[in-house]
């Protein structure tokens, strides 16, 4: 398939995944801010900014960290390239580029999301109706994935699209885990209850709360959380699950001379697949995740070089 | 008259140039006026050939490697027979050459100037003389994108501008005329050997009008390509990606066989 089309599909899927992440992160942060002790409220609210590395942009545009400012910045602001509004616009822009490769259903799911979002933005979002917008974002994301899964031919177009989803997802999981873990460990020293909420927030942000309870029960242990989100292949947003998909997809994509992305992905996959919690503990979770993020970034870059780098 | 020709075109770039494709009209055709005895075009890229709508031979060169300099060389031996131009050496009826192009479109000033002349050889020779009086030969004041009207206003230019103005005037008064690019053999050391002139159709035959040299016969001219204007007949036309600023250096030698270069 066309290199440019592969690139558009890859980025389209990444952007849509990013929209969902943004909404989940903000949702959890707003809820946590209500639970948290007042002096930590601001720290709670700033989590989505830390995960996406947009604290500076936010400070420049808004200054005060308030729920409404965050809602405006993260959901609707077109000056912020990672706002839900901006990423859905970028996703649709990419979709428009590859309309020839999309089924009518997939195209419509994205086009409709864009049209509805414009409407939402026009009306404005406040703290009191924000949760409806979060639900909307998640739903749109599900519809897109459903349409893609249910109607796209299983060819390289599909594979590149899925690659985008899983690269973005792996990246997000690692970042959220890293930041939330640090915050939880910090509060563990002072307020054990607070720490419990932190872990809960982390699991909710990654849609893994039920999975945790199912696997480990109610008692939340830091290393259990890490194990769940890194090593468990059956948790959809775990690094293991993402890497398994990525390695698989690269295996299926028709490639001429291209070998490097596949090699990098397979090696990182093996690393996780045969890893265990002792190894992660020995290295330190933060160091482990920092290394992981660098490697996933390299894989993403290499995919673009191997298949889209014309 | 047998002539040796060597023509080097060198492009240098101040940043690496990654990709380039060029249309090179650097190969003269065999005609009753010129017999090609040897000819060779050398380039640093991959080449293939085509013949364009005007019947010109075009070398298409592509470069897919990164460089900071390109040198193109055309060289060979051509025998000029001294025969006059014939009427059917073009795939077109002469009327095609009444067509204006963006480079030859006549403005008010050119129209006013051209209206003083008429469609016969004597009048056109007078026009040629008047153009050279009006437009000083001055390298460096115009570029390949200058139109006839701009050069006419500026009262200065090179052979290509003189030729465009001549063409613009002829077409305005209903004389079919074509642009010719090629080489000229002169005894002057200073004159550039790459050259441009015009050929006008006067009812029965094509006639040479070399404005810059005020010549009416092509006794020392080697024809590379013809067209409606410079763009059609340009010896080198290319496009590239990367490379930053480009500087172009052209040198050409036309010597009589036996002479030293």
């Amino acid at each position: 398939m066309l290199s440019r089309a592969a690139s558009s599909l890859f980025w389209m899927a990444r952007y849509l995944e990013r929209a969902e992440t943004q909404a989940r992160l903000l949702d959890v942060s707003l809820t946590m801010a209500l639970i948290d002790v007042p002096e930590d409220r601001e720290e709670q609210l700033s989590v989505p900014l830390l995960v996406t590395g947009t604290r500076e942009v936010f400070d420049e545009l808004y200054g005060d960290i308030t729920p409404q400012n965050l809602i405006d910045f993260l959901l609707l602001d077109d000056r912020h390239p990672a706002s839900v509004f901006s990423v859905i616009r970028s996703a649709r822009d990419n979709a428009l580029h590859v309309r020839g490769n999309l089924s009518a259903d997939v195209w419509e799911s994205i086009n409709l999301a864009w049209m509805e979002l414009k409407e939402l933005r026009h009306k404005g979002v406040t703290e009191s109706n924000a949760s409806r917008v979060f639900d909307w974002t998640r739903e749109r994301s599900h519809v897109f994935r459903g349409a893609a899964y249910g109607t796209l031919l299983r060819n390289d177009a599909f594979h590149f699209l899925r690659l985008g989803t899983f690269i973005e997802r792996a990246d997000t999981t690692a970042r959220v885990l890293d930041i939330r873990h640090r915050m939880a460990t910090k509060s563990l020293e002072g307020h054990p209850t607070q720490s419990f909420f932190e872990w809960t927030a982390l699991l909710h942000s990654l849609a893994a709360f039920e999975a945790y309870q199912h696997t480990y029960g109610h008692n939340i242990e830091p290393m259990n959380v890490a194990e769940l989100l890194i090593l468990k292949p059956d948790v959809p947003r775990s690094l293991h699950a993402c890497l398994q998909e990525i390695a698989d997809l690269l295996e299926q994509i028709e490639s001429g001379e291209a070998r490097r992305a596949r090699r990098l992905a397979t090696s990182l996959y093996a690393n996780i697949r045969f890893g265990d919690r002792e190894y992660i503990e020995d290295r330190g979770l933060h160091e482990y995740l920092t290394d992981f993020l660098a490697r996933i970034e390299r894989i993403s870059g290499q995919i673009q070089k191997d298949y889209m780098g014309w | 008259m047998k002539l040796n020709i060597r023509h080097d075109t060198t492009y240098t770039y101040d940043a690496p140039m990654q990709n380039s494709i060029q249309y090179l009209r650097l190969t003269p055709r065999n005609t009753p006026q010129q017999k090609i005895q040897e000819w060779r075009v050398s380039t640093p890229g991959e080449t293939s050939q085509m013949t364009d709508g005007f019947g010109n031979l075009v070398t298409v060169m592509t470069m897919e490697k990164t460089v900071t300099e390109i040198t193109l060389r055309a060289e060979g031996v051509v025998d000029l027979t001294g025969k006059p131009l014939t009427k059917d050496d073009s795939p077109f009826p002469p009327e095609v050459f009444l067509r204006h192009t963006p480079l030859t479109e006549a403005d008010k000033a050119i129209k006013a100037f051209a209206s003083q002349f008429s469609a016969n050889k004597r009048s056109l020779v007078r026009m040629m003389n008047r153009i050279l009086e009006h437009i000083e030969f001055m390298p460096g004041v115009t570029t390949v994108t200058h139109t006839a009207a701009e050069a006419f206003r500026q009262k200065a230019g090179v052979c290509q501008d003189h030729t465009h103005i001549f063409i613009s005037c002829c077409r305005h008064i209903g004389v079919p005329v074509r642009y010719v690019s090629g080489y000229i053999h002169t005894h002057s050391e200073h004159h550039l050997a790459t050259h441009a002139w015009a050929e006008a159709w006067l009812g029965r035959n094509w006639h040479t009008f070399d404005v810059v040299n005020l010549l009416n016969v092509a006794e020392s001219h080697i024809k590379l390509a013809t067209g409606l204007d410079y763009r059609d007949a340009a010896p080198v036309r290319g496009i590239r990606s990367g490379g930053g600023m480009e500087s172009l250096h052209t040198r050409a030698w036309v010597t009589m066989a036996g002479e030293n270069q």
Binding site: L2, R4, N111, E257 | Q22, G53, V60, T62, I239
Partner: protein, 479 residues
């Protein structure tokens, strides 16, 4: 609520009603339906259609507005019906006309027989802005130039179809023809159960077949070349590519090596044999046309000249669809095919012919006078609507430069009931069938019907408030 259906003004041909305001036999099935539907139902269906079109993204971009501006072309729910016998004649006429136009294009880029025979003057061809000297003596497979032609027709008072204009460059609108049909079937399935409407859904398959036949290679690789997503017809480019299952490429996706065209794919370069291009001639290759063009492919002209790629349509087809050449099409049909033209041209008087000129000058108040090189309604006189002063001004212009002008009678376009604010009222329309030339000349029954939504307006262009309708060609006139 009973719906009020306005009947057409006298003297105008209406597609639904005959001169006694009775529904034409071919439209009987619409009569019941129209009477039973009330305005609220139609209004609701129209809203449904709007939402569906928006969701599908069947929009066109408006130049000059901000990048997000995407508009819908208004879609009218009441179909326009063409009888089987009318279509038979139209089809034969279109086939004949397009064949002659292709022969003409071959001729003026090779031996100039028609000029030598004195049928058309050299100047009219060679001075034409759309003429491409670069096409001279290029051998094209099957000698085909306009693989895809869109012929604009109108129906006059006399009930006959007249050709208003030939479109031989990149005619657009076919996606609306297809989507309009899909929409009608979705909104009113019951109508199709009763009426023998000829299908149009196979157009993409025929187009694909035509494009493959444009190359002599077996199993050629075909692509659609678009200027990109900001082009007003981008939706159609993507739509057709998807329907044909071929790649939609932009200039930057292609490159030239050894005079061959390749596209950049995830597994390396892949050679392209046929390009269905939706980019104008001048932008195809910056080394041959406009040097500032970023849309095209440098070197494409060389690949084309050397026969390594086929462009559909060919370069230089615009010369044959020009206003100045239009009056000669009937002559072309006689000259190349030795046949009498089946479809009528709008009678055209040419200022350059002394006899025509005196007719024009004598009848200015009744004629439409157009500048041969003018476009978009500039330099035009509409006699019946002009003041005495304007007419005398044009009289002077015509006398000074008769070559620059042609004149035509003022034709009335036929009308068809259309759902507008005031209810159902007659509106003027035209028809653009799409004619495909490959191994043979084929077309799907019908075409795009454009309708002027303003009362009395004759302007059907979407940029000026025109809409579209589904076009029904009946398979059989007996029912």
């Amino acid at each position: 609520m009973v719906m009020l259906i306005q009947t057409p003004p006298e003297g105008i041909y209406d597609e639904l009603f005959d001169e006694n305001n009775r529904v034409r036999p071919s439209c009987r099935m619409l009569e019941d339906w129209l009477i039973k539907s009330d305005e609220d139902l139609l209004a609701e269906k129209r809203r449904e259609a709007d939402v569906l079109f928006q969701r599908l993204g069947i929009t066109f971009n408006v130049y000059g507005e901000d990048q997000g501006a995407e508009r819908l072309i208004p879609f009218d729910l009441i179909p326009r019906v063409i009888s089987a016998s009318d279509w038979q004649r139209l089809q034969a006429g279109l086939r004949q006309r397009v064949q002659a136009l292709n022969r003409f294009l071959f001729d003026i880029y090779h031996d100039f027989d028609i000029i030598r025979a004195g049928v058309i003057s050299a100047e009219q061809v060679f001075a034409n802005p759309q003429y491409q000297p670069g096409m001279q003596n290029l051998k094209l497979p099957r000698n085909l130039y306009s693989h895809i032609a869109g012929i604009d027709l109108i129906r006059h008072n006399d009930g006959d179809f007249y050709v208003l204009e030939d479109n031989l460059r990149c005619p657009s609108g076919v996606s609306y023809m297809l989507e309009n049909r899909r929409m009608m079937m979705r909104l009113f399935p019951e109508l199709f159960a009763q009426a023998p409407v000829a299908p149009v859904e196979h157009y993409p398959a025929l187009l694909g077949e035509t494009l493959r036949a444009a190359s002599l290679r077996s199993n050629p690789t075909v692509v659609v070349l678009t200027p990109g997503r900001f082009n007003s017809a981008y939706f159609e480019h993507a739509f057709l590519a998807r329907q044909m299952g071929i790649e939609l490429v932009e200039g930057a996706d292609l490159f030239i090596r050894n005079n061959k065209v390749y596209m950049k794919t995830t597994i390396g370069p892949q050679q392209v044999d046929v390009i269905y291009r939706r980019i104008d001639d001048d932008f195809l290759d910056p080394l041959a046309g406009n040097p500032d063009s970023m849309l095209g492919v440098p070197g494409l002209y060389a690949a084309y000249r050397t026969g390594n790629v086929v462009l559909a349509n060919a370069m230089g087809t615009g010369v044959a669809d020009d206003k100045a050449i239009y009056p000669f099409v009937p002559e072309m049909i006689r000259f190349y095919l030795g046949e009498e033209p089946i479809l009528k041209n709008v009678p055209t008087w040419q200022g350059r012919k002394p006899k025509d000129l005196s007719y024009i000058l004598d009848n200015l108040p009744d004629l439409v006078v157009k500048e041969t090189q003018g476009a978009g309604g500039y330099g035009m006189l509409i006699g019946p609507k002009a003041t005495k002063k304007e007419i005398s001004h044009f009289r002077k212009l015509l006398k000074a430069r008769p070559d620059n002008y042609i004149a035509q009678p003022t034709l009335s376009l036929s009308t068809c009931p259309t759902f507008v604010e005031e209810g159902v009222a007659p509106r003027h329309l035209d028809l653009r069938p799409f004619v495909l030339s490959g191994k043979k000349v084929q077309m799907v029954p019908g075409g795009l019907t454009r309708v002027a939504l303003k009362e009395g307006s004759l302007v059907v262009n979407s940029s000026q408030g025109g809409g579209t309708k589904d076009t029904w060609v009946l398979e059989d006139d007996q029912c």
